[in-house]
C-alpha cells in the first residue's frame, strides 16, 4: 500500500505542478524523478503529521495519501501540450560513456562504503537511524525526542528521513539493508534530478555534464552511503531550485515551494535554503504572486516543523548552549572570524573530499560567473553562504570542530543546486545565436553583478 501511496501522491503532485503535458522522454523522466522524490517526501511528512496528531500511523494514512494523489491526478488533467523548446545539440556518444562510467564508479563506491560501514556514518546511527528505531520500536513515539537522550542525538532535528526509514523498517522488517536502500534511492534521485533538469532546458550534453559534476564529487557517494539527511536535503533543494529557475507558471512555483518545504522537514538547514530561494526569487523576478505561490507550497511542511518544534522537540543545542553574552563575545571576536575565513579557504582546496571541483567552481565564480547577469539560483546560494558566516561565528561550540564536522555536509547539500546554476551560466555564455537563449535560470533584464 505504501508503494502505491508514494506513486499516486508523487504523480498527483507532479500533475498539479505542471499544467501542460510533457513533450518528450527527457521531460517525462524529469517529472518521474521529481514524482518519486516528492512522493517519498510527502509519504514521510504525512507519517509525521499523523503521528503528531494521533500517535500511530497505519494503513489509513497511506489510503488517504493515495486518495489525495488520485484526486490531484484527475483534478489537474493536462489538456495542453508543453510548448516545444528549441532543439539542442545532442550529446556525443563518448560523453554518454563517461557519464555511465561515472555512475558506475559512484555506485561501486556506495556499495563498498556500505559494506565497510554497515551502520552508515557516525550521524546515521547517532541521529537518523536511532530516531527511526525509536519511531518503529517505541510504544510512545515521543520517547524518540526525550531530553534524557544525549544532546548529540539532536532530538530537535526534523524527521523526514527517519520517518521514511521507520515506515520501511516497520513494513519490511528490521534490516540494515533498509536504510541503505533508502540512501541509495536519494543518491540516484539527486544525480537524476540535476542531469534531467538541465537536459530538459539545455540539452543532453549539458545535462550529462551536470550529472558528472554531481556523481564525481568524491564525497557524494560517501555521503549518500552514510545514510544521513544531507543527500535527501540536496535532492529536495535541487528539485525546488530547478523548478524555480524554469517555472512558466505559478503552479510550478507552488510545487517548487512544496519541494523546498520537504527540505525544511528534512533538516534544519532546509529552512534557510527555502527562505533564500523565496527571497532570491522575489528579489530577481519582482513577482510577489509567484513568491506567494512558492510560500504557499512550502507552508504544509513549514507548519509541520512549527508543530513539531513547539509541541515535541527539545531546544536546539546551538540555542540551548548559547547565551546573550556568548553570542556578543563571538560576534565581536576578530580571531574567530579570521579562523572561519581561514578554515573556509582551506576547505576550497580539500582534495580528499572535493577533488578539484570546489576549487574550479571558486575560480569560475571569480573570473566568469560574477560577470554574468544575476540569477535566482546564484542569488539564493549567495544568500545561503552569507548566512552561514554568522551562524558559524556565533554558535557556541569550538569553531574548528563544528566546521570540520559540518562544512562538507553543507557543501553536499548545496552542490547540486550550485551545479544547476553554474551550468546554466556556462551554457548561456557559449550558446550559439541560432539556438536562442536558454530560459533556464535566467533573469531577463537583470543587471550584471
Amino acid at each position: 500500500m505504501s508503494a502505491v501511496a508514494i506513486a499516486l501522491i508523487g504523480a498527483g503532485l507532479v500533475a498539479a505542478g505542471f499544467p501542460r503535458r510533457a513533450t518528450d522522454g527527457v521531460e517525462r523522466a524529469y517529472r518521474a524523478a521529481a514524482a518519486v522524490a516528492l512522493g517519498t517526501g510527502a509519504w514521510s511528512a504525512t507519517y509525521a503529521a499523523w503521528r503528531l496528531a494521533f500517535g500511530e500511523a497505519g494503513a489509513a494514512k497511506d489510503i488517504c495519501l493515495a486518495v489525495v494523489g488520485v484526486a490531484l491526478l484527475f483534478g489537474c488533467r493536462r489538456r495542453k501540450t508543453e510548448e516545444a523548446l528549441p532543439r539542442h545539440e545532442p550529446a556525443p556518444r563518448w560523453l554518454w560513456a563517461v557519464f555511465a562510467l561515472a555512475c558506475a564508479v559512484a555506485a561501486a563506491a556506495f556499495v563498498e562504503h556500505t559494506f565497510r560501514f554497515p551502520d552508515g556514518g557516525w550521524d546515521a546511527w547517532m541521529i537518523w537511524n536511532l530516531r527511526a528505531r525509536f519511531l518503529v520500536r517505541a510504544a510512545d513515539f515521543r520517547s524518540a525526542f526525550s531530553p534524557e537522550l544525549s544532546f548529540l542525538a539532536h532530538q530537535d532535528y526534523p524527521w523526514l528521513l527517519p520517518g521514511a526509514v521507520a515506515q520501511a523498517l516497520g513494513q519490511l522488517g528490521e534490516s540494515r539493508v533498509v536504510p541503505a536502500a533508502v540512501a541509495a534511492v536519494f543518491g540516484i534521485l539527486t544525480v537524476a534530478v540535476v542531469a534531467l533538469a538541465i537536459a530538459r532546458e539545455l540539452g543532453a550534453r549539458w545535462g550529462l555534464l551536470g550529472g558528472l559534476a554531481v556523481a564525481t564529487l568524491p564525497c557524494f557517494a560517501t555521503f549518500a552511503s552514510n545514510q544521513q539527511s544531507d543527500v535527501p536535503l540536496a535532492a529536495f533543494l535541487a528539485i525546488a531550485a530547478a523548478l524555480v529557475a524554469s517555472a512558466r507558471s505559478r503552479r510550478e512555483l507552488a510545487l517548487a515551494g512544496f519541494a523546498a518545504g520537504l527540505g525544511i522537514w528534512t533538516k534544519n538547514e532546509g529552512l534557510l535554503y527555502a527562505i533564500c530561494l523565496g527571497v532570491a526569487f522575489l528579489w530577481r523576478r519582482r513577482d510577489p504572486r509567484g513568491a506567494l505561490a512558492f510560500a504557499a507550497g512550502a507552508l504544509p511542511c513549514a507548519a509541520l516543523l512549527v508543530w513539531f518544534k513547539l509541541g515535541v522537540a527539545p531546544p536546539n543545542d546551538l540555542a540551548a548552549f548559547s547565551t546573550a553574552g556568548s553570542l556578543a563575545a563571538n560576534a565581536i571576536d576578530p580571531l574567530r572570524w579570521g579562523e572561519l575565513a581561514l578554515l573556509t579557504l582551506r576547505r576550497v582546496v580539500y582534495f580528499q573530499d572535493f577533488a578539484l571541483w570546489v576549487l574550479a567552481q571558486t575560480l569560475l565564480l571569480w573570473v566568469f560567473v560574477r560577470k554574468q547577469p544575476a540569477s535566482v539560483l546564484g542569488t539564493a546560494l549567495f544568500l545561503a553562504c552569507a548566512a552561514y558566516g554568522p551562524i558559524y561565528a556565533l554558535q557556541p561550540h569550538r569553531l574548528d570542530w563544528i566546521f570540520r564536522t559540518s562544512a562538507d555536509r553543507i557543501l553536499i547539500q548545496i552542490w547540486p543546486t550550485a551545479v544547476l546554476a553554474t551550468i546554466a551560466a556556462l551554457a548561456k555564455a557559449v550558446v550559439r545565436p541560432s539556438q536562442g537563449s536558454p530560459r533556464f535560470s535566467q533573469v531577463p533584464g537583470s543587471p550584471p553583478v
Partner: protein, 136 residues
C-alpha cells in the same frame, strides 16, 4: 569559450574526481580502514535482557554530555552505540540509581571494579565488557 572546451574541462574534472573515488574506496580504505562490525552484534545479548522505557548507563570512560567536551572520544562512541543498539530504551547517562543499569567498559577486566565503585550488583553479563546491573 566554446562548448567543446567547456565539455573537455568538465570531463577532466570528472576524471580527477573518479580517480580520487577509486583510490579512496578501492585502494586506501581497504588498506587502512578495517571493516566495521555491525553495532548490533556487540549488544545482541544485552538487548534481549533490557526492557522498559529507561535504564541507567555507567562506564569506565566518560562521554561528552555538555558543551566543551570532546564528542569524538571512545567513551562517547560507546555510550551512543549502546543507545543505538538498545533503542527504544532511553539510556540515562551516569545514572547508577535506575532500576536497571547498563555497564559498558572499554577494559573488560575493570567491570567488577566499576560495579563496586558505583554500588551496583551484577544481574547478567552480556558479552566482553557489557553487563546488566541493578543498585545494591
Amino acid at each position: 569559450m566554446s562548448v567543446r572546451r567547456v565539455t573537455a574541462a568538465i570531463v577532466a574534472l570528472a576524471a580527477v574526481g573518479m580517480v580520487r573515488i577509486v583510490w579512496l574506496h578501492f585502494a586506501s580504505e581497504p588498506a587502512h580502514e578495517p571493516r566495521r562490525m555491525p553495532i548490533d552484534q556487540h549488544y545482541q545479548a544485552l538487548r534481549s535482557l533490557v526492557h522498559g522505557a529507561e535504564a541507567g548507563y555507567v562506564s569506565d570512560l566518560p562521554a561528552a554530555v555538555r558543551l566543551g567536551e570532546d564528542p569524538a572520544t571512545r567513551g562517547t562512541r560507546m555510550y551512543l552505540q549502546a543507545q543505538f543498539a538498545l533503542a527504544p530504551v532511553v539510556l540515562r547517562y551516569d545514572d547508577a540509581q535506575a532500576t536497571v543499569v547498563i555497564a559498558s567498559v572499554a577494559d573488560p577486566a575493570g567491570l567488577a571494579e566499576l560495579l563496586r565503585q558505583r554500588s551496583l550488583e551484577l544481574v547478567a553479563e552480556a558479552g566482553p565488557g557489557l553487563a546488566l546491573a541493578r543498585p545494591r
